[in-house]
């Protein structure tokens, strides 16, 4: 009787279990297995051992060629490192600056600016891409080039000239809002007494930030840094829309490279197996990060026992 009652309670989990199993758990396992095959659009499970991983080492280590002291072919690993590090810098530092500024000015104005910065996050990616392209167009029609034209300068092909800078800044404009929202709410929740005490003691605005605000928002700041590192490692949508990873592979990062290996219409390889192997590496890094989160942020506390228990 009691067992049956408990069994019934599992019905609460049923919808989530079914969906998670089919669209999350099975694909996660399949990715790992697929990485050992040379599967293409015919979907044949043809196992080739570590073939994909050998290819990966060749692609990434032998592929970039140094010519006359310059990197003649861009390296995906270097691209990924630059992308993650530089965008992370924008996401956290710029997000922090926005959070501090929008909480230091009048509340209404602060909310207004925060809403503006949240816009890119809620805009469909393809529309965000269209907007960025309209700003960056290489002809006089592009808004940045129109500004250059107004002061008598020739239009520039921003994407060809500075592909990494373009993807980093456009990515950072989306990412900064997360840091901004979380840090702004953390700053808002700092007790007013502390800040008043600092003011009474004659602290300047910068001292107040340095000695009151920054130490008190240390944890959310670290959380955002950790969380964003992981999401940046696996994000590629904005790059795909804005530069398509180009010119050539100049702005392609690891995850976009995996996407291209599997689904790029133009190269037409449809190397699902190779793409899966590339993705598996990302998953392994993701798991390492999750374990680190677990340790640092004490997720166990979030899983505390339920309060009410009646059987």
């Amino acid at each position: 009787m009691k067992l049956a009652a408990i069994g019934k309670l599992y019905l609460f989990f049923l919808p989530a279990l079914v969906i998670i199993l089919i669209f999350f758990a099975i694909p996660a396992v399949t990715t790992a297995i697929m990485g050992f095959t040379n599967m293409d659009f015919q979907f044949k499970w043809n196992f080739i051992g570590f073939g994909n991983y050998v290819k990966m080492v060749k692609d990434f280590l032998i592929w970039p060629i140094w010519r006359e002291g310059k990197l003649a072919r861009p390296n995906i690993i270097i691209n990924t490192a630059i992308w993650v590090f530089a965008t992370l810098l924008i996401n956290t530092i710029f997000g922090l600056i926005l959070a501090i500024l929008t909480t230091s000015i009048e509340r209404r104005a602060g909310t207004f600016f925060r809403a503006i910065w949240l816009l890119p996050r809620f805009t469909p990616m393809i529309v965000y891409g269209v907007i960025c392209l309209s700003l960056l167009l290489p002809t006089k029609r592009g808004i940045f080039n129109a500004v250059r034209g107004a002061v008598g300068l020739q239009p520039l092909d921003w994407i060809s000239l500075y592909p990494m800078a373009v993807v980093i800044i456009t990515g950072g404009f989306i990412g900064a809002s997360m840091g901004m929202v979380i840090l702004a709410s953390a700053i808002d929740s700092i007790s007013e007494d502390l800040r008043r005490a600092a003011k009474v003691d004659g602290a300047s605005w910068f001292q107040e930030i340095r000695y009151i605000i920054l130490p008190l928002i240390r944890w959310p700041l670290m959380f955002i840094t950790a969380y964003q590192t992981l999401s940046l490692l696996t994000s590629y949508e904005s790059i795909l829309v804005i530069t398509k990873g180009g010119p050539f592979f100049a702005s392609t990062n690891w995850s976009l490279y995996a996407y291209k290996a599997a689904f790029d219409v133009y190269s037409g390889t449809y190397a699902y197996g190779y793409g899966a192997a590339l993705a598996t590496i990302l998953v392994i890094i993701g798991i390492i990060f999750s374990i680190a989160y677990w340790r640092i942020f004490k997720f166990k506390e979030m899983m505390s026992e339920p309060k009410i228990e009646v059987e």
Partner: protein, 316 residues
């Protein structure tokens, strides 16, 4: 000796004066910053802050203004200044705009279905599970919580390729329903955690009294608890609707036939290869796509922020 004591007294007096000053000011104004500082310095600092905020926000503002203005103007001079009014860029609302692109309404319906389906399925998944995780002590609860957290670390690309295979096996390639389920699955860890948070916030006296009256868990969940977490359901629905409506990569990869196009693929097709792009049409379609999102964004901004923060609660 006496001098230092004198100094000390002076400092303390100054502090008291400052406190009085501060209290006086804060009682009457709700200014949150810098009450005590030098007024001219304070003003300069504020002007600097506003200047920084305005300059950094300008590209965003220009970009969004551009798609609206460009969609109604015959020609754009200097990138942003319109010349001549026209509605020809909006002709996709009543006819096929060119040989390649279809009229927008079937595409719109697909997108709407994708948004609503994702929202509906997300709520269906997260409300019972969120409740169970918040209130029931059953074996496997912790495992499930851990599982959702780990899965949360597997975004997009890592599953894309095998999802393609799974959908192909289930004969769900090229169907919006397939993308709906993928969306709901990928969003479920987030939605479940948010719903759990909302259930956690309901005092259990309410539930207790229903228990005493002899209701079972399912009745309590449905009749007592669901009405209590209505704001949570509302927030999740909007959030998932926007995510579903905006889905890009899954539509691009999983839907290959024109009949299954959503607005994302529609705009991607207009964009084509960046050459010979009809920028007016592109701008108009972008505005059409972004309008519902803007609507929700303006009117439910607070809810969305709450969910965004609620989902990250663990770090705070």
């Amino acid at each position: 000796m006496e001098e230092t004591a004198d100094k000390q007294i002076k400092v303390e007096r100054a502090k008291v004066a400052r406190i009085q000053d501060l209290q006086g000011e804060t009682t009457f104004t709700f200014d949150r910053g810098m009450v005590l500082r030098d007024k001219s310095k304070e003003r300069a600092l504020k002007i600097a802050m506003y200047t920084f905020l305005i300059i950094t926000a300008t590209p965003i503002f220009l970009g969004y203004a551009w798609i609206f203005v460009a969609s109604f103007s015959k020609e754009m001079t200097f990138g942003i200044i319109p010349k001549g009014l026209t509605i020809k860029h909006w002709r996709f609302l009543w006819q096929a705009p060119n040989q390649v692109m279809p009229i927008v309404w079937p595409v719109f319906l697909n997108t709407l279905f994708l948004g609503l389906g994702t929202a509906f399925l997300s709520v269906l998944i997260s409300t019972p599970t969120g409740y169970a995780l918040s209130r029931l002590k059953v074996p496997g609860r912790k495992l499930f919580l851990a599982l959702t957290l780990i899965l949360h670390a597997f975004p997009g690309i890592s599953l894309l390729i095998s999802l393609f295979w799974v959908l192909q096996k289930l004969h769900l390639l090229n169907s919006i329903m397939g993308v709906v389920m993928v969306n709901a699955g990928l969003m479920s860890p987030f939605c479940i955690w948010v719903m759990k948070g909302f259930f956690d916030g309901i005092p259990w006296d309410i539930e207790m009294s229903a228990f005493v009256d002899g209701a079972n868990r399912f009745q309590i969940w449905y009749k007592v608890m669901l009405p209590q977490v209505r704001p949570g359901i509302f927030a999740i629905s909007i959030f998932s609707f926007i995510m579903g409506w905006s889905t890009f990569i899954y539509v691009l990869v999983f839907i290959l036939k024109k009949q299954g196009w959503t607005l994302s693929s529609y705009i991607y097709a207009i964009l084509g290869e960046y050459r010979f792009v009809d920028w007016g049409f592109l701008a108009a379609a972008s505005v059409f796509f972004i309008l519902p999102v803007l609507f929700f964004f303006v009117f439910t901004n607070k809810y969305l922020m709450k969910v965004t923060i609620g989902g990250m609660k663990g770090g705070g």
